[in-house]
């Protein structure tokens, strides 16, 4: 069944295609986790959201199954990012690293939880079931750490958009003024790439950001779009 087939509110074919691909990534091998582990992280994120009451009953039953691939350190990180983003402090990151979770694994978990929240909140907005996670794909994680990671002032190191070399060029397409939000999870380039693809599609592309009359959605003005983004960020207490 197509992802948005049951929606009473229209979703365009490009968005449906990109979101179907997005959903599949949670069961594919990543950089530090294999497909089964990534799927398990996504399941745990959904369980955390259900427990917090921010994911309704229309969540597919695959979230109920716990296959035991998540240790306590990972669970604490997943719970915070998936269900309580407003309460995250640097201690979450520091404690996870002190407990043996590598920086790369932390960032990959952040990418999975953040991107899944996108899809699941879209489903909640449309009043449809969340997309079912696909079976885990076989294969090894790439275990590739970018060679150009820098401390740019965040807790985790990132690929800079200026001076990022070929890896920065490949990720940012030559844009040397990439905003920090799109560099945030760049330590895991495939996660950052997906964030940018869906950001361009759902919000707007960067070249239109400073055109305050531009909206990618014909049904909403830019001011109306920014009402939504402002309220969500206020709710999540996101200073950025």
């Amino acid at each position: 069944m197509a992802l948005y087939e049951n929606s009473n509110f229209p979703i365009g074919p490009e968005t449906e295609t990109v979101h179907t691909e997005e959903l599949a990534t949670f069961s594919q091998p990543g950089v530090w986790f294999d497909g089964a582990e990534r799927r398990s992280i996504a399941q745990a994120a959904r369980r955390a959201r259900i427990a917090a009451g921010i994911q309704g009953a229309n969540t597919t039953s695959d979230a109920e199954h716990d296959d035991g691939l998540i240790d306590e350190t990972m669970r604490l990180v997943i719970d915070a990012i998936a269900a309580r983003p407003m309460a995250i402090t640097e201690d979450l990151f520091d404690d996870a690293i002190a407990d043996g979770l590598s920086e790369g694994r932390y960032v990959e978990i952040a990418g999975i939880c953040a991107r899944l929240a996108n899809l699941d909140d879209v489903a909640r907005g449309l009043n449809i079931d969340t997309g079912a996670l696909l079976p885990a794909q076989q294969g090894e994680p790439s275990r590739e750490t970018p060679s150009v990671l820098k401390d740019e002032g965040a807790w985790a190191k990132t690929i800079p958009s200026s001076g990022g070399g070929p890896e920065g060029e490949a990720l940012y397409g030559g844009n040397e003024m990439q905003p920090f939000i799109y560099r945030s999870i760049s330590q895991i380039p495939p996660e950052a790439k997906r964030q940018m693809i869906t950001g361009d599609l759902q919000y707007l592309s960067l070249e239109n950001f400073m055109d305050f009359n531009y909206s990618a959605h014909p049904s909403l003005t830019r001011a109306q779009v920014e009402i939504l983004s402002g309220r969500v960020s206020a709710f999540n207490e996101c200073f950025y």
Binding site: C113, N118, N127, W155, I181, G199, A223, S233
Partner: protein, 118 residues
């Protein structure tokens, strides 16, 4: 909120930024109150309020607006989590542009403010 204020200014709309923090207030933007209630419903834990907000939004701005609003809310639900989880600081230009309202609205008290105001 900087972009909200600028986009309203470009269209001669007198926006009430306090409503973004306290959604019981009115935004001053056409359709803004329905959008606020909808955003609040999607990210919050009151399903009945969400269902009601969805109906009111569809009635006020149309079915396409519900779709678009869902995509925007989801987009920021993702970005906020990435930003807060990695502790990224705000760019200096936006820090400067938001200085006049952050303290008044309590934004400097957000837990994640520590990542930018250190």
């Amino acid at each position: 909120m900087v972009v909200l204020r600028e986009s309203c200014s470009a269209n001669n709309i007198d926006v009430n930024l306090e409503a973004i923090i306290d959604p019981r207030q009115s935004t001053g933007v056409p359709g803004g109150d329905e959008l606020l209630a909808f955003a609040n419903g999607v990210v919050g834990n009151d399903t009945e309020a969400l269902d009601s907000a969805r109906e009111k939004l569809a009635s006020a701005l149309g079915a396409e607006a519900v779709s678009a609003a869902s995509l925007i809310v989801g987009n920021y639900s993702r970005n906020d989590r990435a930003a807060n989880a990695i502790g990224i600081p705000m760019e200096p230009m936006f820090l400067e542009m938001s200085e006049d309202f952050r303290e008044r609205l309590g934004i400097n008290e957000f837990t994640s403010a520590a990542n930018s105001l250190k």
